[in-house]
């Protein structure tokens, strides 16, 4: 479904990604683990078209997308739920969800979109209660649910999730991971970025470990969980897990 082939991405002269390659297959949850500053967000932004790689290719659904802009890529069925939620704070929950389907309005029509909003409310009951509330007034956990729900409204084949558990209380983190598992059951393919490596590896099929813009390790989730080096670096203690 997604093939990242040897990409390097720069901020000015600073290289944030160095020849990174990874694959995500249909129906998988793949997780990308790495410490703060490793380049995880840069990688997701390069995949979704917010940044462009200097070298290498990104291929999605056998289309080369590395030169396409973000607003075009979402139309191909890729939805990026950005780091720190980035909900539209001055818009209501319902408006946020509607805009999640912005790219589908001409294709699918309003009826389908309203039905999908109902479906999303089935998954995130709290959002239905808050639907007329401004997104900026929601709690951090609710905003994260909204960000994921808004991403779902694009009906993506592939979802990129950037640290959905960041800064949330443990109970809410559990809830987020529960939803991720449900999404997978419904057939959505997911690339999940996490500093919370333990939780991420529990839901994922495979994982990649990123360090200073390099992929240093990859494999089945179970293998990575068992790996000694990785345990030391990322799964050591609770505090380490949070990064």
């Amino acid at each position: 479904m997604l093939k990242v082939d040897g990409i390097s991405t720069f901020y000015g002269h600073i290289r944030a990604l160095n020849h990174v390659s990874l694959d995500v297959n249909d129906g998988e949850i793949v997780t990308l683990i790495g410490a703060n500053g490793a380049g995880k967000t840069t990688l997701l932004n390069t995949i979704s078209g917010m940044l462009h790689p200097k070298n290498g290719d990104v291929v999605f659904d056998s289309k080369k997308i590395s030169r396409m802009r973000a607003e075009q890529i979402v139309r191909l069925g890729m939805s990026h739920v950005p780091e720190r939620r980035q909900v539209f704070g001055s818009l209501t929950v319902l408006e946020n969800l509607t805009l999640g389907a912005y790219c589908r309005v001409s294709r699918d029509g309003w009826k389908a979109i309203y039905q999908d909003i109902e479906k999303v409310f089935g998954l995130f009951a709290i959002l239905e209660k808050r639907k007329e509330q401004l997104a900026g007034t929601l709690s951090g956990g609710e905003q994260q649910m909204l960000a994921v729900a808004r991403g779902l409204m694009a009906k993506p084949k592939l979802m990129l999730l950037d640290e959905p558990s960041l800064g949330l209380a443990p109970l809410i983190v559990q809830e987020i991971f529960r939803i991720i598992t449900e999404l997978r059951k419904s057939g959505t393919t997911i690339l999940l970025v996490e500093q919370n490596a333990r939780a991420a590896l529990r839901v994922a099929d495979r994982g990649y470990v990123l360090e200073n813009g390099h992929v240093v390790m990859s494999g089945k989730a179970a293998e990575l969980t068992a790996d000694e080096q990785l345990q030391k670096a990322y799964l050591g203690g609770r505090s380490n897990g949070k990064g």
Binding site: T41, N45, E71, V74, E83, F88, L91, L99, V105, A154
Partner: protein, 310 residues
Amino acid sequence: MPSSEQLAQLILSGITQGSIYALIALGFVTIYNVTGVINFSQGEFAVIGAFVAITLSQKVLLWHGQMTASLEWPLPVAALIGVAAAVLIGVLLYRLGIQPSRNASPLSQIVVTIGASIALRGLVLLAWGTDPYRLTPFTEGPPFDLMGAILTRQSVWVMGLTVVFVVSLFLFFKYTLIGKALRASSANPGAARLMGINPQWMGLIAFALSAGLSALAGIVVAPVTFMTFDRGLMLSLKGFVAMIMGGLTDPVGAVVGGLILGVVESLAAGLISSGYRDAFTFAILVVVLLVRLGGFIKGRKGEALERAGL
């Protein structure tokens, strides 16, 4: 002490004039919120809209009397074309001036809009010369008497249409998909792109919308005050002051700011001396700039950086 009739009169004409400032300020806010640009051509759109509407709807002399235009089309048609002309110029300004310079600093983009306003003023001067023009009032008839103050029919049109335009704009932003997309794009341009919202397309719409709004303002006020080729500068400055008074990004604030500015001006002119009309505006401008400007350009930049880091 001024009589209460005199006060009522000053306030009424202040609200009439302030309505125009409010509409122009709304244009400023719309463009600023969506693109981060302060567009000093805003007043020029009002002048162009008014001049086109005047030329199409009544007899006027053009090119220093060398040509007479006597199309005398119905006013609504002429007004529509005036608005369309301003919208077209707004779109061109965005495509040719703002979009290519979108990676430049906000200050350079402001300079682009100032340059455009000088060029547009020159064009208007070429076509219509320095003569003042006045549009025939929308409806004939004697003025109304309101608590001893005189309220002209055109003032009623100005206030009524301002309400209609402002309400329509708010409904547009609240209930249409494009309106929501514009708000999303101004709240968080990066996240808006991830929804498939093209920021350049939003910028274009913001410029078109604001240009049209200003043109409408120019057309409804053209029967109240004479239009001259150089009115745009003052209208821009006043719209800008109203925008800042309203808190820079707040459309409701901009409308209130415009109305207050109109009334303050009218009171200053009527109670002190007509020479003080603009002096007050600029006193407000200077104070507000000293207090706020340093803050807001930095603030905007910080946000932009944070957004880029997405």
